[in-house]
Point group: C2
Chain length 400, copies 2
């Protein structure tokens, strides 16, 4: 597996474009399009928030067919809680896009991100579609990744190349998301493209597993968005032998897809609003996976743990308090906590550890917290970031 340039347009046959259609006051690009020259197998996964955007509703319905070939994305407006025209607006935007692309409208999806509660300025978007379609280019991957940003400070993309049989296959991706990031996808839009030739059922299964081990394992602030969507389009243009479920090729493809999605998930955490540090919380030795996840999420969600790391202070008592209050079954007398590889609590009690080593460790960009419950084989990892004053600034001063 080799990292290559190009993001979502690295794979054969994919083009992208972006324009400013006037949703964002900043005049930055706020409308983007991703398009495959040829037909695709496709899959998607969406927020489980019970209040959700009309764009999510439309795309979820359309992707069931599994042959989507283009996705239009607007940033600056979530098309959510904004009145009874959400679905209609999403439909008219995708209809016009489909016409300009010469596609059946069932093959065009939509994603929206931004402020909730204001009607989608469909007029502005419709006016932008012409130049958007005209602007489609194979080297516009980064432009696409930039146009989908909201409070993100950097655009996030990657692409990798693998070999299936004697053919080169590329998987690329771009994401946006930095706040409202929580279990089960959060305010995150993710777009994956691949030129792999793969059965749709295999694509669907691989995508589900990749999302599960990446985007569903990150949290920035515990808030879940109304608009989270992740999509993958596979156009088969690599002309590899077809990838079938549970084959060796499948697992090779899956590994690469996981690598891409984990890379992008970590980039979201690192770009977490105000974040200065990446934190991995690993729990092992739990009675079962559910308990391990419960504890890992609880620690990763603890404001006290996250502010402690922002402050560079190895106060493991806050981790202990978080373990005990997670709701998971634990035996305090068997519970160990490690910072990096250094034990700080063993069998529920403080361990003498060099304060200098811990303080140095807490100055690093990446902090590893490991909890060993010594009670079973359940394990889980969650990634998060620290909680800083900048998070408050960004979110207290976000203009509505």
């Amino acid at each position: 597996m080799k990292i290559v340039n190009g993001g979502v347009t690295a794979a054969k046959g994919f083009k992208a474009a972006s324009v400013s259609c006037g949703i964002k006051k900043s005049k930055k690009d706020d409308l983007a399009l991703l398009f495959s020259d040829g037909p695709c197998a496709s899959a998607g996964t969406f927020t489980i928030n019970r209040i959700r955007s009309g764009s999510v509703a439309l795309s979820e319905e359309r992707i069931k067919k599994g042959n989507a070939q283009a996705i239009i994305v607007n940033s600056g407006n979530a098309n959510c809680c904004s009145g009874n025209k959400e679905l209609k607006n999403a439909a008219s935007v995708t209809d016009l896009t489909a016409r300009r692309l010469g596609l059946d409208n069932s093959k065009v999806l939509i994603a929206s991100t931004g402020i909730i509660g204001r009607p989608l300025p469909a007029g502005k978007i419709l006016k932008g579609i012409n130049s958007l379609v005209k602007g489609l280019k194979v080297n516009n991957g980064s432009k696409f990744a930039k146009a989908i940003m909201t409070t993100d400070t950097v655009h996030k993309e990657i692409a990798v190349r693998i070999t299936i049989g004697n053919k080169k296959v590329i998987i690329g991706g771009a994401v946006k998301g930095s706040g409202m990031i929580c279990p089960n996808m959060a305010t995150m839009l993710a777009f994956f493209t691949t030129d792999a030739l793969i059965e749709r059922s295999a694509l669907k299964a691989a995508f589900k597993e990749a999302v599960q081990c990446s985007f569903n394992r990150i949290t920035v602030d515990g808030d879940m968005s109304t608009n989270d969507s992740a999509f993958i389009l596979a156009n088969g243009m690599a002309q590899n032998r077809v990838i079938r479920k549970a084959s060796a090729d499948y697992f090779k493809f899956l590994d690469a897809l996981k690598a891409v999605s984990i890379d992008l998930a970590k980039k979201i955490v690192l770009d977490g609003e105000g974040a200065t540090r990446f934190i991995e919380v690993a729990v092992k030795g739990a009675g079962n996976k559910q308990d391990a996840e419960k504890i890992a999420r609880h620690i990763a969600g603890s404001s006290l743990v996250k502010t402690m790391i922002a402050g560079g202070d190895p106060n493991w008592g806050r981790v202990a308090a978080s373990i005990g209050s997670s709701g998971a079954r634990i035996d305090a007398k068997k519970t160990d906590i490690y910072f990096g590889k250094t034990p700080v609590m063993k069998n529920g009690f403080a361990v003498e550890a060099s304060r200098k080593i811990l303080l140095d460790m807490f100055r690093e960009k990446e902090i590893h917290i490991t909890v060993d419950l010594n009670s079973g084989a359940g394990s889980e990892k969650i990634w998060t970031c620290d909680l800083t004053k900048r998070y408050i600034e960004i979110n207290a001063e976000y203009e509505t």
Copy 2:
């Protein structure tokens, strides 16, 4: 019901004292004692954190008898995760206190608050007990309330007077707590005293209900402590006719006890670390009380909602996103959101509301958010505070 001075020593027969025994570097008082001249009926409630202080373990065991008469409290050290001497240290501290007070040691309780993972400096405490006991005075209520503080910025106390039959009865209380405040008691110590003559079973039931509707309804940062404890001592010195369960007197007593505990709970929220605003989240019209509580806690726990209020920005979309992701059953199309009495979302859609009215409302010290699900009779209220840069400062710079 009339508010009176004196806090925990307002009721007849109660004395308090505090000294600096050297646990806190600041030399502020860090050891306090509460004592009743005569025997008491007593009750207590404790953290459900599975990792907890030896002080909690000892007090929970002793209060089962229901005749505690004195409580010694140290601040600056939690006596938690600190080795296998936690229980022994708690016992030696209470034993010496009991001897000096001339009480059986089963009647002396202990509460600890402060840093986790360092051995309780029992030697320092034991040396302080003599002057502590000598310092017991009836007008030391505020001194007691001050000595139990950690990151609290103000001491918190109140007392009220009611009449049972022809006798005046007083209920007083003092609490500490400002961070790590969460459902089910949080880093909070609460001490209630009353001179009411009341059956122990009635006292226990009233206390449970009062804690439920006050301390268990507040959250500052969603973190639950290892040391939360709440106690009530009733010495009967008001010589009122005995209060029996479910009598009219009982409900009068219960109302007053609730008023005292709600007042103290609100004071904790208002003194929430870095808080500038008090927030009431009320949910009604839910299918049942559990769903109402789930939603209210989810909104009150949302960093995005809390930073929005810190910033004075009426961005109700964040409330909508929080409702939908709470896990409770809702029908988006029936869901209304109000800021104060002003509807901002009706039936899942934005309502035109005067931005000036909302902005003015968000400058107030107290913000009311109401969610009406229009689906049943379930309702619940949760109190919280905003999330500001000052919270980060306090918690990132807390010295361990």
